[in-house]
Amino acid sequence: MGLRMLEASPCKDVSMSLQWGQVQYDVEESTATVRATGDIDVATAPEFRDALYRLIDGGEPTITVDMGAVSFIDSSGLGALVAAQKRARKQGATITVANLTSSARKLFEITGLLDVFGVAQS
């Protein structure tokens, strides 16, 4: 199987108050699915975004981000997804998100991002 650990970041020592973040992502190459696990926050969002950038720059036309195992996402995390979507669109590609937890779904709904990432309105 094309399952490969891209990166696993330990707690980032960004500042005393910003130490919880931890995010992992597996990339299944055959379907271009990124499976994110953990927190996507101000500490981990830049790495997460860069991982998506690499996939986009690698020429994938459709990338799916599986959010089923994301425990927390804040506005920086949403910012990483939006930045990646903007980059994808410039290259004629698109990013969709799948398996949103109910609280993440609420956040996508409030921030008007369901349409942006191809999530059906309930």
Binding site: S17, F72, S76, K106, T111
Partner: protein, 368 residues
């Protein structure tokens, strides 16, 4: 003739710049080698040779602590470390780090101390400089933030506004902002937003967005025009930022609240009878993507209050945003009716004194 081992030791001490001492309590003598004398700015043989002479060589502010530490080491014999200053005859101050060990007799009773000492003035100077630099950087970002978010809020007759900004964990400034713009037709423009991230870059992006919004607000009569044109500016100038924003115009004559939201948290409204709820807000994406924004009009009753806020007020790491929103509604419902008092109440109840993850911007608006 010194043994090979002794010669090796001397070489090592010289190479490391280490001075050594031996304190013998029985004979009440303290021996320093020439390097330790050098570390204290003394010529060979310049040290007096007693414990009291050592104490006298210490910086006055460090004496009590050093003596206390040596006494404590004598009480339970073992290694100890001292960091102290010494003033040379020329008036210059030098930092010395001593690593000592208590010597004991056959019965385990202390007989004195031996140890090595090193000049650490450069290290201490560097550490102090780094600390000052960090402090200056934080002061700079904080004062920039304060200059960008003035606490003096413009107003129009019939509308009172209280504004607050709280940095994350009281030290990390972020990109949350508010803007209050009196319009020539007697209405009041109110904007709030969140630029994701922390630190100087977030503050700089926030400043760009906030000044753009203020300029656009003064020249436009419609909330949706302001947000659509702000979006154009963001797409041109701030393309990497993630920015949510809400801009609305309140008319004190007919109490219409006309607003448009770019992915921002919905506003809380409290009626004069205490009924409190979220204003149903059409989902529109954050700034920076394609598309135009639409406006919603909302008829307010006399005596209504609006609470505009950023997600730092409701977001908790271990609970859903719905729970956080419901808590905000409860606190608004039971809070005071004066806008300044309600703003303080909200921060006290929802932000508190502990470390919080995110910064908070808040506008509380009372309509007569």
């Amino acid at each position: 003739m010194a043994s090979v081992a002794e010669q090796r030791l001397t070489l090592a001490l010289e190479a490391a710049g280490l001075g050594t001492w031996t304190w013998d309590m029985a004979t009440a003598t303290t021996e320093w080698d020439v390097r330790l004398e050098e570390l204290h700015g003394l010529s060979p043989g310049g040290f007096g040779g007693t414990f009291d002479d050592w104490v006298a060589s210490l910086h006055p502010d460090d004496r009590a602590e050093c003596v206390r530490r040596v006494q404590r080491a004598l009480e339970s014999p073992g290694p100890y470390v001292l960091l102290h200053r010494t003033t040379w005859l020329d008036g210059s101050i030098h930092w010395i780090e001593c690593r000592g060990r208590v010597t004991v007799d056959d019965h385990g009773m202390p007989t004195g101390t031996i140890g090595v000492a090193l000049d650490v003035t450069e290290r201490e100077r560097r550490d102090a400089m780094v600390e000052v630099e960090l402090e200056e950087k934080h002061d700079l970002v904080t004062s920039l933030q304060q200059a960008l978010l003035p606490s003096e809020i413009p107003s129009v007759p019939g509308v009172r506004v209280a504004a607050r900004y709280v940095a994350a964990g009281s030290t990390v400034v972020g990109g949350d902002w508010y803007a209050v713009v009196p319009l020539p037709d007697g209405r009041l423009g109110l904007g709030i937003g969140d630029v994701a991230g922390h630190g100087l870059s977030a503050v700089a992006e926030m400043a760009g967005v906030r000044f753009s919004l203020r300029a656009l607000a003064m020249g436009a009569t419609d909330a949706e025009d302001v947000l659509t044109r702000l979006n154009d500016a963001v797409r041109l100038f701030e393309h990497d930022a993630f920015i949510t924003a809400l801009y609305g115009i309140v008319d004190p004559r007919n109490r219409v609240w006309s607003f448009s939201s770019a992915g921002h948290c919905p506003t809380v409204v409290r009626c004069a009878n205490g009924t409190t709820s979220l204003i149903a807000t059409a989902a529109q994406p954050p700034l920076g993507l394609d598309g135009a924004y639409h406006r919603q009009d909302c008829q307010l009753e006399p005596g209504s209050m609006l609470v505009l806020y950023t997600d730092g007020l409701i977001e908790r790491r271990c609970e859903s945003i719905t729970d956080g929103t419901n808590r905000l509604i409860d606190v608004v419902r039971s809070g005071p009716t004066d806008p300044e008092a309600l703003a303080d109440h909200l921060l006290a109840e929802l932000v508190g004194a502990g470390a919080h993850d995110d910064d908070v911007a808040l506008l509380v608006v009372a309509i007569a």
